[in-house]
Subunit: 510 residues, 4 copies
């Protein structure tokens, strides 16, 4: 196939039209997903990742040593901590531009996670996964494709492992295998942006038993493989996108979630990146989530939009300078910057993997994502507070534009001189969109469950919190000797040194 | 007119059909609001207030000395603290039954507030407002009507008082007055349930200058007065009520918000309860909000539904006994019971007004409502956390019921044995409904802005917090004498007594 | 013994001197605990419970049908819900007057819990506990004694039950028993105010196995029984009470905690209220904690002092009207009133026990206490915030009064005209006292652990949260039939009625 | 003076003895501050900054181009972002080692702030401040001295500027000036560690009017200048340091706060770094606080100790693996890492000043510090929760060691096998120390007020939050044109590009 690199959003959209993807929505097979009014805003959000690369190449592209030229940063294998920080800056920017999920991070993080894990599998087993993956990466870099990452299995009965399930298909697994490749079956839930992708990369979802080899599978599949069926998720207020321009709140952009049903899909070996190496499954999952939890810095960009919207509506209402309004905006900024700060700190503290690409700090990545699971609802609360009651009671666009009733509504929605009441309405609708509507899904629910639900981060924080070291610090200060006379001589000596110039003061004698 | 008391929900619905009310929705005049699929769930919620009265008369009716028989409690003038507590118990119950706003509290609280305020105006001015109001109350008690309370004006430029506005109509005001009555003009925003009412009671919205007499107006108007136009608010996910039974989440019930445009409506004197007595405006507003902020105990009933939904879905997922799930449910209950506890405490501490009816405690009413403005988004967060990612990615009902794709979806949505996957879907949709959909408006936004936005409660808490007394306590304990040698001799003596048996210990001598 | 009712704080203090109590403090047997400068402030706090009874008999005394006269409310067996509410009002008042723990609630709650439990044991076993207890109550009502309640055992290895412990004494138990009485041994931890009591009432601390009968013991012991040894707890800043008047912050009042060692104490049968009835142990513990967790309304009175102190120091600094200061004070009041509201709501919702006395609502009692475990540190934070840096850097009283350096310090501690810098210092010291010093123990640590640590309340909230009912509400609204076709016919019918007037709207047809 | 570089903690302590510093404590002039049992733990904490430099030179020293050798990092002028990050790593480490404030950051941050500000003053006015400062820095680097930074003035009446005060001395100001130098008078409040310093650097505290030149002064003074008097702050539980080894909790280390009275101190020109340039005062203050607010990363090290202590005591109690205990520890770690993450993110994002040294990001520095003002009390709450009631009721060391009563106490304080009850006591005392005792001052109060009280950070966050840009993002997405047709043509064009591939979807036609 001749290389036909996609150069901008428009070309990206055209490229999507050429796919024969099978998508269901509202019980119907969608003929042309790209132009479906519900789906299109989610396509637009991905398109923005192409246009940004044109407008700000430093930010949204990177030099790839694999193919010797600059590629879209979403397809780049990180070569430094700075690459990871730049990802975060790009993510925040795209959050600001779209006010929603732009759906291209999963693929970026999946490729980077696989890059190091395939290397380590090959190192142990002499397999060819890494080379295959590198070939695949080169190919998609050349084509400038969108890669969806597919991880979450349906999981069936949560108390049972994959092999114990009544229905083996509730985890994606290999049903056949021969010289040419493998055949897989199952489904993947909660797939962000896959319908807007060119390829999806399948990954396993959780720790397996050694004998559950058929579930340890990672591979790439083109989205229009005939064995794939996508069912578009029905989300809050999605049909408003079919209905005018004001009520939807954000007419341009939206996120997208779908379920993928995988019906005996054949995958040639060249696209298989893991096949049975169960002990590497948790490694892959953790590496992916380490990248991906920090990728949620994007939500600080979305938060910027929400803060800006809250400030705008306060301004339209003439209360932007009221002290309690100011305090609420400051609080929103404070909460929002914690996401950004902890996220980029995780990226700055990156280290090289054996394969040579860079991975960010684990505990800070989890702290970043976990903070998101806690504060976006508070952001929504503050934004709605600043909006006033109209966030919940506004008439529809059709009423506002009705020849008789419209002017009366505008008369009563007017605030101060110089403010167009329609602007007030539009801004309130944007806030509704982000706190209860289409993009609330991305801002609230995805911040909760994307890249792992809150408890998943707590488990990782527990894994990395190093209580033993912290207990040692405390014991030393409490004067508890078992901290000092540990097993190793050296430690003891160090401790002795530690306290040399700080003798406990003797009891005061009167 | 012959008395035709409405005896149950069905008769109530019939009674609504007899009105000639003018309602706009999506740019069209709605012929038959009661049967409009978007409006009907909100009618059902009010109907439930009638049916509950039949099923549990102790809870939802009360003996009215005014007409010498039991009346629906929503129309009852409180005769004891117990009446106020019973209101709360009824409100919580209806919240549990409907999972939304049942829209009948505003009228109840408006009548009770006016009852004492009209008495006090008459006492000062020798007017007839109280008698007129009592007649009106008797009438609606006999008919068992629904009363909407209309308070919030559009307010225009927030930095200007009513008489300073460019457009005088942004506050409802009297434009004409003669022997037979008054003519009023303006609009009322954020009107909960007015379209489902028989009468609305208009009240002023905020403190006025003495000369702004034409804005100090309270009166009753039948909802089908030709001068009234209602514009139905477009809310999150409202059109799902037109579309099947599962996706909507709660197919039976919903709230309702509308804007009312008042175009030169004539009101006969017998329905006028305040006309120019500006100094009583803040009294009326505060008394109404004192009742109404405590009426938000209803949301503890709605909270019960959300907790139950979160527990159910955790149960379907087989994780109800996981410790972190348990902790989250306990946290939800803890937060939810604070609403109930502070609300009924306010009611229990009621006192009689001069007119003889009872009013609840101010500071606790404000604490109750203010807590609601803070924690419902946290409830939503916890509920979505327990639901898992499907809260944001579920396929539509039409996909689930599609002959080909439906069974596959159900296969992958199944969890443990004995759980119907459709139940899991329905419960997730109910949680979506309450946290992002139709009833999120009632649970989240109305909890914020209903009965006054958060800052309004803080102002009232500040008004009643009695810092001086608290400072006196502190000064006494800090040994600061200006607390002791105050202006009044008596106080000084009391203070002396206070400390008589608690001399400060003398300095210890070695 | 001739009755010598204690009539006021002064007589109470005298009565304490007549005891031969054995108290250790700083490694020494304290000759005269009442006059020890560290202990005295805690005695003063109890004395205040006597003086308040004189000054405000309605509030702090009650008519006891047992002896046919008014008694101190702390010794009263509740005869109505109003009695429980009055306890709360009295507790808040005493918190305001002392700014600390006044130590008399444990006895009050222990007597009331035992009152109903002994009745129920007797009912089952034909024993005499209730009569004995009533005789004891009459006696202490006549004498107007202070009763300490002793519940918490040392507990040793937390993973083992009492009978499994290496050392059987880590739970109080009966070591001998004969016709005249029993002999008990063990210790009680964290005893609030016992050294200031006349009698202590011993109670078991947790659920026992049926065979652990010797641990199921409740009885009364005079505090100066020779087998009792009290070891005074060393608390933050306690020695400041020995050292001038300013630095201590609150020179008059403090709390008190002690460990009681029980070395083979003989208790005559007339003072034994439970002896081996293991199944009543959890009943007694829960009933006691139900009363006692709501008794923490006292802390809303202490909170009033802290709010007053924070407001005073803001006033001295000239910033009382700054908006952010105001907001912080409002927040403190808001948090503080939740304690009060949920506490009195629990009391108002009281019901009669079989024995006839009244007990408050369980879930609200636990919500009240649990809220306290969460917010007092936030109160401390806000108070220190409003105090400014001097909360941590103030010179000592001796420096302030030093002839040379003192005037310079006062020069630099002065703020605005009319404010005595010493007042500013005193107020800052009071805030230090309540947030880091002597009374922080009562306000912060006791709010956490008194009447059970936070997790204990969560367990009780879980026990009473009635998830099944809540799940039923949710299922009905989600249209899930297993909520409707339950086991009982009646339920089904009721559900049918419930939905009769609220049919799900049919799908909208275009 | 011959150079006598201090090489370790011991030599540092010796160097302090050679000073003739005037310190008051408890109304007495302290002869030998270094060996005073209350002061010594604070000296030990500073000594640790020397010993760490020996043990871990990479972390705690840096190459100074000024003198061409490695110097203690606390005296280093930053030459890169990495230098700022290393400061943070060193601060966290020292927090872990000392569990308190080690008092050397103020000087580090003051020198770095002055480095760039003096450069900019000279640039504008042709003055010599920068050169003088560099000479001073070289000198203290050679000597390895401790520098205290003195900023906070008493401020008198907060509603008045310095020149309006009744007493001009409530802000430090120049009272005389001649060819040789200046004479200053006033006082500095809340001085951390100044008594343990060799020199203090005076800086102004807040924005001045142009004519208030005499208040715009910065200079260096040796701590034993006869015009300086230090009054040691009396802090919670300070006297426990005089009294055994267990009760104090942390016998080795503590912080220190003092007031400095400046009585007409003469400062030669060579030590004057600002003198009348009022417009640079806010620049200096903001630059200092930018550095210093991020220096609070130290508290994440102190937090590590508190977490370790809480985990240890849970371990001693045998409940370390209980799920609610685990959750609380994870919560503590989560909160604690936010400090670290936002702090180092601020450092990583550093940029060069005109003078060439590096300064960290403003908004993240303020977010880091502001988070600290919010969560340390929550950390204290969680730590006390995990400790259990003994945090407030433990007997004194003297009781524990009493021949008769001691063994009984130990018997009852024992938990599980293998745990020395004294360890449990020691750990509980450490937690008391950090949450109510000596080091609570550093961990709680200093986290609130050090480097500016909470409101100060909110003001800075507001200054840097760039609402206009955020409002522009929101307006673009809401489809509000005034965001697009701004004043500048270029902006319009860019906006046009922005939306080129994302046309709003047209209304869906059925």
């Amino acid at each position: 196939m001749k290389s036909m690199t996609i150069r901008n959003g428009q070309e990206y959209i055209e490229s999507l039209r050429r796919r024969k993807i099978k998508v269901y929505l509202f019980g119907e097979l969608v003929e042309n997903p790209v132009d479906h009014p519900i789906i299109r805003p989610s396509v637009n959000a991905v398109a923005e990742t192409y246009d940004l690369a044109s407008r700000e190449p430093d930010l949204a592209t990177a030099y790839s040593p694999l193919i010797g030229k600059r590629v879209n940063r979403f397809l780049h294998i990180t070569t430094s901590a700075d690459d990871l920080v730049k990802q975060n800056e790009m993510q925040r920017k795209l959050g600001q531009l779209t006010g929603t999920c732009f759906q291209r991070c999963v693929g970026m993080d999946a490729l980077n996670a696989l890059y190091s894990v395939t290397y380590e599998i090959d190192e142990k087993y002499g397999t060819q996964y890494h080379k295959r993956l590198v070939d695949f990466i080169k190919y998609v870099q050349e084509e400038n494709y969108v890669i969806g990452g597919a991880m979450t299995d349906p999981k069936g009965d949560r108390s049972k492992s994959p092999s114990e399930q009544d229905d083996p298909d509730v985890f994606v697994h290999i049903v056949k295998q021969n010289d040419e490749g493998i055949v897989i079956r199952g489904a993947k839930m909660h797939q962000t942006g896959c319908i807007n992708s060119h390829w999806i990369v399948v990954m396993p979802t959780m720790r397996l038993k050694p004998e559950e080899k058929e579930y340890a599978v990672s591979c790439a599949i083109p989205v229009d493989d005939p064995g794939l069926t996508f069912v578009y998720g029905r989300q809050s207020c999605d049909t408003r996108s079919m209905d005018g321009n004001i009520d939807v709140g954000n007419a341009m952009y939206a996120g997208q979630e779908a379920m993928i049903i995988i019906d005996d899909v054949f995958v040639p070996w060249k696209y298989v990146f893991m096949c049975g190496e169960t002990e590497f499954v948790p490694v892959l999952v953790e590496r992916f989530t380490t990248y991906h939890r920090r990728s949620y810095v994007c939500k600080s960009g979305v938060g910027d939009v929400l803060i800006g919207a809250a400030a705008s509506i306060a301004d339209y209402n003439g209360v932007l300078d009221a002290s309690h309004v100011r305090e609420k905006l400051v609080e929103m900024v404070f909460l929002n910057e914690i996401v950004y700060g902890t996220g980029i700190a995780s990226s700055y503290k990156a280290r090289a993997t054996k394969a040579g690409n860079y991975i960010n700090d684990e505990i800070l990545a989890n702290v970043c994502k976990h903070h998101l699971t806690k504060f976006t609802f508070e952001m929504a609360r503050l934004a709605q507070d600043l909006t006033g009651g109209i966030v919940a009671t506004l008439p529809s666009e059709k009423d506002l534009k009705h020849p008789e009733i419209g002017p009366k509504l505008m008369k009563y929605l007017a605030t101060k001189n110089g403010v167009d009441p329609e602007h007030r309405v539009r801004m309130a609708r944007l806030i509704e969109n982000m706190t209860m509507g289409r993009n609330a899904v991305g801002y609230l629910s995805e911040s909760l469950h994307g890249a792992g639900s809150p408890q998943a981060q707590r488990i990782l924080i527990a894994r990395y919190m190093n209580l033993e070291e912290k207990m040692k610090f405390a014991k030393r200060l409490a004067g508890i000797s078992d901290a000092l006379n540990g097993k190793e001589e050296e430690e003891e000596e160090e401790s002795a040194t530690l306290t040399s110039s700080a003798p406990a003061p003797s009891t005061h004698s009167d």
